[in-house]
């Protein structure tokens, strides 16, 4: 480690005890950070210093730390996940920053995502959208032959592109309206594209978009900030597809 140049950074971090606390920014110094640190490892270092000093560490969500779970949720300098293309916070590395940089770290900000503590928000509103129809309820019978339902490769690929969504909520955090259209459209599309999901497509899109509104998410105004924020590169074509599914559902 001694071979590496180290960085010293100024962090301006949102600290909030609970949902009712108004919260405020606190300034910290991150010392001895190398370019190989991930953003979360950098925060781990800061937290160690805070714990040694007898202070409350910065509370943040994380799990897999390999970019696939969607737990990490931080808005860094105004961009969800730090703004690097198709990257979650855990896969954002400190080589993207310079010695002496000042970094603002905030939680996802949306009406539907109440802050639990510091950088952790309650994303169970996304689960409520899934519960409203993000499944198929057909009887599966015995163990089916893997190739019993033939699905052309391009169709399977399209469904997979939608299924890449890890439900991190960056789309909501990036949307100026706090809308969950990209998330919901990915889930609606993933099922509507495949034969097993087509049967319930109409009720699904109605129920899931209703749940979206009931959970307090805003409405889509086609800014496409969601697509820029998405660490999995979910395209807004799925929002267009959901709009189509919604229109079709009105006549189903």
């Amino acid at each position: 480690m001694s071979d590496h140049k180290t960085m010293t950074l100024t962090l301006i971090v949102w600290r909030q005890k609970n949902a009712n606390d108004p919260g405020k920014f606190e300034t910290y110094t991150a010392k001895n950070i190398t370019e190989h640190h991930s953003f979360l490892e950098m925060l781990d270092c800061v937290n160690e210093d805070l714990i040694h000093a007898g202070k409350d560490p910065i509370v943040f969500d994380h799990d897999c730390r390999e970019g696939i779970c969607g737990m990490c949720s931080q808005v860094i300098n105004g961009a969800p996940h730090g703004g690097q293309d198709r990257t979650t916070v855990c896969q954002l590395h400190m080589r993207k920053f310079k010695d002496g940089d000042t970094i603002y770290i905030e939680p996802w900000r949306a009406r539907a995502f109440p802050i639990v503590r510091d950088l952790i928000v309650d994303r169970s509103a996304l689960d409520k959208i899934i519960q409203a129809g993000g499944y198929t309820s057909c009887h599966t019978g015995g163990v089916a032959d893997g190739n019993a339902i033939l699905i052309p490769k391009p169709v399977a690929d399209e469904a997979m592109d939608a299924a890449e969504c890890v439900g991190c909520g960056a789309c909501v955090a990036g949307c100026p309206n706090g809308a969950a259209m990209l998330f919901t459209s990915a889930k609606v599309s993933q099922l509507a594209i495949l034969p097993q999901g087509k049967g319930e497509a109409a009720t699904r899109v109605k129920n899931m978009t209703n749940a979206m509104t009931e959970c307090g998410f805003g409405n889509c105004t086609n800014h496409y900030e969601c697509m820029a924020a998405c660490p999995k590169g979910i395209n807004v074509k799925f929002i267009a597809r959901m709009n189509r599914e919604f229109l079709k559902a009105q006549f189903a």
Binding site: N77, G78, G83, N177, N219, C220, H223, Y224, N243
Partner: protein
């Protein structure tokens, strides 16, 4: 139908009413361009042609337009208020990747256009802004009959710097509004995919630019003295 209550339903209503007004703006510009003389008798003949249509058609058309405008404004305001609440606390650092000045200010460009619309109707339809040049009161001969002098009214209006300035400013608001609105229509109706979406953004901006240039040419050429009454 969940058109008036649901999130996507109201979005679709905004898109359809908006697009209807875009179509109106295109036809309106084509009609207005008769001021440059491609129609025998110019804009006076065009105005006379419109006014000679059966009254129920004229009234029906105006009522339909009014209804479209009202629906667009009503849901526009309603959705904007809801969406402002979607993110109650803003980020300390604002960083936008895809949103544009136009997409973020639809409510304001829309409000400017609505205010302009009131002025425009008072000026050229109800002709109360400068009654001395009102076309309905100043008849001129055309093809052996006396018709309102629309050309004289328009030229007299745009000779005034402030009038031309208001019109040009409103067209900037229209350009911004439509540069987001036209592509938004296709996305909302679901007539878009990953390949067509960036092209539709360009197409929308191009149509908005075309309308802007077309409309400002009229006050500009009159104010510069190129087009005379």
């Amino acid at each position: 139908m969940q058109l008036t209550s649901s999130s996507i339903g109201r979005k679709i209503l905004m898109a359809i009413t908006g697009q209807a007004m875009v179509l109106f703006a295109v036809v309106h510009l084509l009609g207005n361009s008769s001021i440059f003389g491609w129609l025998n008798g110019g804009i006076n003949a065009y105005a006379e042609h419109l006014h000679s249509m059966p009254l129920p058609i004229i009234i029906g058309f105006r009522l339909a337009l009014l209804a479209i405008v009202c629906v667009h404004i009503w849901f526009g305001i309603q959705l904007t208020i809801e969406n402002r609440g979607g993110r109650p606390q803003q980020y300390a650092v604002k960083s936008t990747q895809k949103a544009t000045f136009a997409s973020e200010n639809m409510i304001w460009t829309g409000s400017l256009i609505a205010l302009f619309l009131i002025y425009h109707l008072a000026h050229f339809t109800f002709q109360v802004i400068s009654p001395e040049t009102a076309a309905l009161k100043n008849l001129v001969p055309l093809h052996n009959e006396m018709v309102p002098n629309v050309l004289g009214m328009v030229v007299a209006g745009f000779k005034n710097f402030f009038v031309s300035f208001i019109y040009a400013g409103a067209m900037v608001a229209l350009f911004l509004h439509l540069s987001h609105g036209i592509q938004s229509f296709f996305q909302t109706m679901g007539w878009s995919c990953d390949k067509s979406q960036p092209l539709l953004v360009k197409f929308g901006t191009l149509v908005a630019l075309g309308l802007f240039l077309g409309y400002v040419t009229i006050p500009l050429t009159i104010f510069a003295g190129i087009l005379k009454g």
